[in-house]
Amino acid sequence: MEAITDHTISALVEDKPGVLARVSGLFRRRGFNISNLSVGHSEVPNLSRMTFVVQGDEFVVEQVTKQLYKLIDVVRVNDITGDAMVARELALVKVKATADNRSEIMQLVDIFRANIVDVAADTVIIEVTGDDKIDSLFRLLKPFGIKEVMRTGRIAMVRGPASTGGKPLTANLDDHNAPDVESVP
C-alpha cells in the first residue's frame, strides 16, 4: 500500500460557467480529500488552469485523475508531485504590533523575504509567498497575536523547459490509452 501523501495536480479546463462546480462536486461526491484549490486563466485563451492538492495514495490519485478526465470540460490532468517544480502560495496575515515589538516583526519579515503592506496603530499586515515557509512564518508570528489570516491555494509550475501539462498521467494504463493530448494547443 502506498503512503498517503499530498499530491499536486494541475488541470487544464474549459473556461466555462459551472466548471468549478463540476470539479468541486466531483471531489465531494467521490469522497476525495483536497486540502486546497486555486484557479485562474492559463496561457491559452478559453482555458483555465486549476491546481489542487489531493491527499491520498497512488490509487486515490489515479482515480481522481481518471474521474476528472470524465468531465467533458476537463482537457488535461497531470500529477506533478514527482516533478521538480516551483510551488507557491500567497498569504496575508494581520498581526498585532506595538511600537515596542514592531521592529522585531520587521526583522522576521525581512528574514522570510515577506512584505509589510499595511501599518496601523496597533496592527500590521504582512504579505508572504512561498510553500512551507508560510507555515514557518506563522509559527514565529503567533506569539505576537495573529488577528486574521487569508491564504490562496497552491499554484505550481514544473521547472525547466517542460510544460506543466506536457506529460499525461498514465498510471496503470499505456500511453495509448491515455486521453489524446496532441490536439491540445
Binding site: V13, E14, P17, G18, A21, R22, G25, L26, R29, L47, F59, E62, Q63, K66, Q67, Y69, K70, L71, I72, D73, V74, V75, R76, N172, L173, D174, H176, N177, A178, P179, D180, S183, V184
Partner: protein, 567 residues
Amino acid sequence: MRLTGAQIVCESLVREGVEVMLGLPGGAILPLYQVMHEYPQLKHILVRHEQNAAHAADGYARASGKVGVCIATSGPGATNLVTGLATAMMDSVPVIAITGQVPRGAIGKDAFQETDITGITLPITKHNYLVMHAAELASTIKEAFHIARTGRPGPVLIDIPRDVLTETADFVYPDTVTLKGYKPTMDGHAQQVKRAAKLIADAKRPLILAGHGVIIANAFAELRELAEKAQAPVITTLLGISSFPEDHVLSMGMPGMHGMAYNNIAIDHSDLLIAVGMRFDDRVTGRLSAFAPHAKVIHIDVDPAEVGKSVHVSVPIVGDAKRVLHALVNEITPTTRLEWLQEIGDLRQEHPSDRVRESDKLLPQYVIKEISDVTNGNAIVVTGVGQHQMWAAQAYTFREPNSFITSGGLGTMGFEVPAAMGAQVARPDKTVWSIAGDGGFQMTMSELATIVEHQLPVKFALINNGYLGLVRQLQDLFEGGKRVSVEYSRNPDFVALAEAFGIRAFRVTEKGQVRDAILEAMAHEGPALIDFRVEPEENVYPHVPAGEGVTEMIEGPRPEAEGAWKR
C-alpha cells in the same frame, strides 16, 4: 436560415435522426411544443408523469440502440426527470433530456417554477448545458448527442430558458464536434491485446464476465467467437444478460448476490477472468478481499476510470468492446479445456440454482419459466427491481441479443412500466413482456393510460405477492423475521384496475392456469395484464449476505422449509 430557438431545437433533433420524443409540456417549455406541428417527422408521446418520460426514453434507447429523448418543463417537470436520468447514468444509457427554464432575466430570482436543474443533475448526467443564446442551440444539441451516444454512453440534459426558445438566430447545423476534453479511446492497445492473448493461452480455468458494454457495443458475435475459440464459459452480469445466448453450452448465467451458486464457486476457482464491458459492481463481487482470489484479470472497458477502480487488473485494455474483442479473437488460437468444462459441469450438478423447485404452489419462478417457454426466449423482457427482477434474470432463457431491459445500477422500482412502453415504441415488431412487481408497478402505473392511447401491445406479468418482497426477505433472513413496512395488505384489484385503463386483464391463482393465461395475453392484439397471485413468501436464492464473500451463499431454503431445491 433565420429560425426561433424552438424551431432550431426541432431542426437539430431531426438532423440527429430523432423519431420519437416523450414528454409533458408546461409554461417554460411551451414555445417548443407550439412549433412541433411543423415537424411531423418528430413524433411526440404525451406521458402522465415526467419520470416516466425519462424511463421510457431510457427503455427506448436500450431497445433500439439509438438515443432516447425526453422533454419536460422547468421546475417540477425537470425535477421529476431526476430518477430517470440517474437510472440512465448508472446503466450507461444514451438519453437526451430537454427542459424548459424560466426566462434568462428571471434566473436566480426564485421565479415561478424555477429550479437549478443543471446544478441538480450535475452528478447524474454525463454532461449538461444551460443554453443562454439561441445561436448556441444547434452546436449544443450536436455536442449533446455526440456525448450521449459515444464512449461510455450516458444522459445529457439541455436546459433552455423560455426566451431563448422564442429568440431568433441563424440556423446552421454543424457537421462536426470538437471537444478538447472528450476523445474516447475506441481501439485497444495492440500490445495489451497481445498480453491478454498470452494470459488466455496460459490459463487453465478462464471465465468470461460479460457486461452491458458488450450489448452497447453490439459485440455479440465477437463475444461468442472469443468464448468458443478460447473455450471460456461466459458469465453474464445482470446488465450483461442477453449479450450471450443462454441456450449456448458455454452460457453460465448471472453471478453475484443472487447469481447462480456454481458461478460464484467457479469464479472462486478460476485463474483468469476476462471482464468485458462490466465494472465489478459490489453486487457481483461481494466482499472484494474474498473475490476471485486465484484469478488474474483482463479488464476491457471503454471507460478508463472503471479499470482498476475495484479489483486489481493484470491487463487493462481501454477500448470499445466490439473492436477490442475482434482484435483479441484474432490473437488467440483455438483450444480445448475439457478438464475445466468438466469441473464446471460438476459444479452445475452440485449447485443447481438455475432450476425451478418442484411445488404445486404458484411459484413466481415457474411463471417466468412458462413465459420463457411460450415466447421461446425471444421476447424483450423488461423488469422493475426486486425479487421478480432476480427471478426473471434467473429463470428466463434469453436467446435473443439485447432482449433484457432492467434497472441495474440505480435499482429503480417502477422502471418496468414506462421502460416497457419505451421498448415497445422502439421495437413494434417484438413481443415486450413487462415482468413487474406489485410494489414498483404501483409507482408508475399511471402510464398504462399512455400505453392504451398509443395502442402499445405490452404484456404485463404482475408478480403479485403483496410484499416489497426482497425487503421482506432481508428482514426474514437477516433481521430475525421482524417485518416492518413491507406488506401491502390492501392492494387494488389489479384486474379491475387494468380494465379501467382499457387493458385486457386476467387473474391467475393456480399453477394450472399459467400457460393458458400467457397464451391468451399473447393472442390479444393490444396490451394485456396478468395478475399472478404468486406464493407470497417465496425467497430469491442463492442469497449472498451483504458484506460477505460470494461463496458464502445461502443456496436455498432451510431444510425444514417446504420443498428443498431439487435437481
